[in-house]
């Protein structure tokens, strides 16, 4: 019995170390995907200005989050939802779970990012899914790095590429969409050729990048589907000094897919005023300038300055592939099925 007592005491001690919950009068809840991040001071500024506690509700990845929002439409989990992207937005819009808000800040956001003309989902940031390559690997072998999607099916790039499965990965889906836009009706022929050229498929980005990409792992694949922002991120998190990022990006026209992330007010919120204030805050310069070094994507607001490492080392494709969100939603399942048939079976 004494031992049980000790255990209970230990437990009590551990519990006592836990931070106590503050009791604020108003709480604004934002549901988001598990990769959301921002500066502590940025959020604190908003909380102080509006005398509110901001509660972040992590809800799995973006797809799972949207499913939860739709399933809980009757009794919303939160006041706002952030992180729905252009591959998912149609499903959300069709479910009718958002309240429109015509924020004055939209004036500072370029038109091509604003995909919902009714302002139910407002663009916050964007990131391009592109092929990355290991500069060192190609330089050491005297092989020129790839410059287009077409290069990957050439014999000299045989067995060099690792991609993610679109059935289980968000960059995997984005890259598949890029090939659909770029190659049109013959997109599956491209994938058949890639398969013949010994492409490796992994379930998610983590395994592709940390498991097989030569730059980041002990793998043997110097070409990986990642983000246009990955090279500046590598520079940022390295102790070394670089003149040129250690990894390169293929930014040829139509070879990247632009993921745009949106924020929206969930229908039925009792905190409409605060929700609007949050959106204006999120699209404002202070928050926008804080985005790159926390979420490693690009701010939607044109007035937001990029941090030095992004300005120096990031390459933004001029003409990423474009697929209409409604078309994505209507065909995603069939496309993935065809992709699986062609690449895996």
């Amino acid at each position: 019995m004494k031992r049980v007592g000790i255990l209970l005491l230990l437990f009590g001690l551990l519990a006592a170390c836990a931070p106590a919950a503050p009791d604020e009068p108003r709480v604004l809840t934002i549901m988001t995907h598990n990769s959301f991040d921002i500066g502590e001071e940025t959020i604190a500024a908003f909380e102080a200005e509006h005398d509110v506690t901001v509660q972040i509700l992590f809800s799995g990845d973006a797809g799972l989050m949207l499913n939860q929002a739709v399933l809980n439409a009757e009794n919303p989990l939160a006041d706002l939802i952030y992180g729905v992207d252009n591959t998912l937005m149609s499903r959300g819009l069709e479910a009718g779970i958002f309240e429109p808000y015509d924020s004055p800040l939209l004036a500072q956001i370029p038109d091509h990012l604003e995909l919902d003309r009714e302002h139910r989902l407002l663009p916050v940031d964007y990131g391009d899914v592109c092929l990355n390559y290991d500069r060192g690997w190609f330089a050491a072998r005297g092989v020129p790095p790839p410059t287009s999607l077409e290069d990957l099916v050439q014999p000299e790039y045989r067995g060099l590429t690792v991609v993610e499965n679109p059935a289980s990965s968000s960059p995997g889906l984005a890259f598949m969409l890029a090939t659909i836009d770029h190659f049109g009706t013959v997109w599956l022929d491209y994938w058949a050729a890639l398969r013949a050229n010994d492409v490796l498929v992994t379930e998610g980005w983590e395994e592709a990048y940390w498991g097989y990409f030569t730059y980041a792992s002990e793998g043997d694949r110097p070409i990986v589907v990642s983000y246009a922002s990955s090279p500046p991120v590598e520079v940022y998190f390295s102790a070394e000094e670089f003149d040129e990022a250690p990894t390169g990006v293929v930014v040829a026209d139509g070879s990247c897919f632009r993921q745009i992330e949106f924020v929206g007010i969930l229908k039925g919120t009792p905190n409409r005023d605060l929700a609007e204030a949050w959106i204006d805050f999120m699209l404002g310069v202070a928050f926008q300038e804080d985005i790159p070094l926390h979420m490693f994507v690009f701010p939607a607001n044109e007035n937001a300055a990029l941090p030095d490492v992004f300005a120096r080392f990031a390459v933004i494709p001029d003409h990423p592939a474009i697929v209409d969100p409604a078309e994505i939603d209507a065909n995603r399942d069939d496309w993935i099925e065809q992709w699986i048939e062609t690449v895996l079976r």
Partner: protein, 561 residues
């Protein structure tokens, strides 16, 4: 002695009474959320969604998936049992230096996130892993000879890596108290070692071996991360399909149907098993460990020890060593990754201080463990009612308690968000939900660990105590507890471990203000930047260390028997 039931509690309804609380728990935190999400998925507009279900009917694909799910689980279970039994024997029969630490280390794989395990296996067997590099050097090859990605071998290997400890510990716990005189008697009567094992030991071990094998089978049957990551898209289990159909290729009616199929199959299996097992668990003469365990003395003992443990050491400790080695080498190297964990250079709001992550993980795990052991004890006592009082309730409760293991984590997670959304059960944002969910998954382990022990107690012991005037509580404390203590400790270890490593359902319900170690690992790994990867590995090493510490602590509390 009709009035003294095997649970040591008087009265005909003792079993039912004991079961009340666990049943209420299951109803509230399992069936209610589960049925809510299934109903919502299957009847989106109040009607059955036939169109979405149409894909299921007449599709050979899902039958193939079910077939693959079943046979890979069977094969995995066989491998796990074959590799685990020698280990269980060694841990049961021998006392040797470092035994406790080794036992704790063997349990570590159980808590590691799948993505980390995949990295560890790649470090060993990947294109430029240790083995391939060694083979390339020895055989003077230009390209790596082994390619495990997307192979069945990789899946089986990971299943063994994760689950072998279940057999080692659960069977080991029973084996340690088994009466060695039975085997000796058989040997005296001329049985060979092999015959004695096959005809005496193995039948006696059936209860715990069955328990462990069943858990392993269900774990592999519902395998998710391992198949998803190491299968490379070539293989899918039902659980993986449910995940696909809930996330990137949403079809909730289809996901719900697959979830129901998986649960129904689990239930059927459990029910069958519970029937067989209830008959198999004959009371045995138990011996305390100081009588059954010996120190290895002769060369033969040491040889046996080495031969039995070596495969396990290679299989379990090599990947862990590879992780540790990487955490010290990746990025800046040395202890830099560990030091970096302690700083928050960008002032991130979701920066996870390692101390807080360790504390939160331990808090959740201890809470889930205490709750699971308490509920598990009630369930086990209620189910283990003797042959006379063997209630219908017990027969039903046994398979029911196992169902959470056969339930897709993502389905149940969604169920929580749609069902527990209104007062007094508005738990959607409560840290309590994490504990409740973990307990649900941990409960089957406690019950499976304790039932064989409870069933092995001779009723005559209890009856003797009762006749001598001991109160039911007294009987339980003096007779049952010492014998069940070890099994309870094993159950507690697994409950603790499950909670430490659980991420599936938690991904949907975790609190950002109370991040755990697996959460921190996933966050770090999800972005580029070598330093992040290095820190994720360092955090994994901390997770391993915290687990070993936790196990050793729990071991301190178990009974001496």
């Amino acid at each position: 002695m009709k009035h003294a039931s095997r649970t040591g509690l008087p009265g005909k309804y003792a079993g039912a009474l004991l079961a009340c609380l666990p049943v209420a728990y299951l109803l509230l935190f399992y069936f209610y959320p589960l049925l809510s999400i299934l109903a919502l998925s299957l009847f989106p507009a109040g009607r059955l969604d036939w169109v979405s279900l149409g894909r299921l009917v007449g599709s050979a694909y899902y039958l193939e998936t079910l077939w693959f799910t079943t046979w890979q689980a069977t094969l995995s279970t066989l491998l796990v049992v074959l590799l685990g039994l020698p280990g269980a024997y060694i841990f049961a029969r021998y006392r040797f230096p470092g035994k406790k630490v080794l036992q704790a280390l063997f349990t570590v794989p159980f808590v590691l996130p799948t993505v980390v395990v995949a990295m560890a296996l790649l470090a060993l067997l990947g294109p430029r892993g240790w083995l391939n590099l060694a083979l390339m050097r020895i055989l003077a090859l230009e390209r790596p000879p082994l390619d495990i990605q997307g192979t069945l071998a990789a899946i089986l290997l990971a299943h063994v890596f994760y689950n072998v400890v279940l057999v080692v510990r659960m069977v080991g716990a029973q084996w340690a108290n088994m009466d060695v005189r039975l085997v000796e008697a058989a040997r005296t009567m001329g049985a060979s070692r092999w015959q004695a094992f096959w005809q005496v030991t193995l039948p006696l071990l059936r209860p715990s071996l069955g328990s462990a094998a069943l858990l392993v089978f269900i774990f592999c049957f519902t395998s998710f991360g391992v198949v998803l990551i190491l299968g490379g898209g070539h293989y899918a289990t039902l659980e993986v399909e449910i995940f696909y159909r809930t996330t990137y290729r949403p079809n909730l009616p289809l996901a719900a149907t697959l979830a129901i199929v998986q649960i129904a199959l689990t239930f059927g299996l459990m029910w069958l098993y519970a029937r067989v097992q209830a008959q198999a668990g004959a009371p045995q003469e138990l011996r305390p460990r100081h009588m059954t365990q010996i120190r290895p003395r002769r060369g033969r003992d040491w040889g046996l020890l080495a031969a039995s443990l070596l495969p396990l050491l290679i299989l379990l400790l090599l990947p862990l060593a590879a992780l540790l080695e990487r955490s010290l080498r990746v990025g800046a190297g040395g202890l830099a990754n560990y030091q970096a964990l302690f700083s928050n250079p960008r002032g991130s709001i979701f920066y996870v201080p390692p101390i807080a992550a360790v504390r939160n993980s331990l808090l959740f795990a201890l809470a889930a463990m205490v709750l699971a052991v308490f509920l598990g004890l009630l369930v086990s006592l209620s189910i283990a009612g003797g042959p006379k009082s063997r209630s219908r309730l017990g027969r039903l409760l046994d398979p029911l308690i196992m169902l959470p293991l056969g339930t897709s984590a993502v389905t149940l997670g969604l169920g929580y968000t749609v069902a527990l959304d209104e007062p007094p059960l508005n738990l959607r944002t409560s840290p309590l939900l994490v504990i409740l969910a973990h307990t649900l998954v941990a409960l089957p382990f406690v019950v499976r660990a304790m039932l064989p022990a409870l069933r092995s107690i001779r009723p005559s012991l209890r009856e003797a105590a009762a006749t001598l005037g001991a109160s039911p509580w007294h009987v339980w404390r003096e007779v049952d507890l010492p014998i069940v203590g070890r099994a309870m400790a094993v159950g507690a270890v697994f409950a603790f471990t499950i909670s430490m490593g659980e991420f599936g359902a938690t991904a949907l319900i975790y609190r950002p203000d109370l991040p755990t170690m697996p959460v921190a690992i996933y966050r770090l790994m999800s972005r580029a930047g070598i330093a992040n990867y290095g820190q994720a590995l360092a955090m994994s090493a901390l997770l391993m260390a915290a687990c070993v510490a936790g196990f050793l602590l729990i071991e301190q509390f178990r009974g001496e028997f």
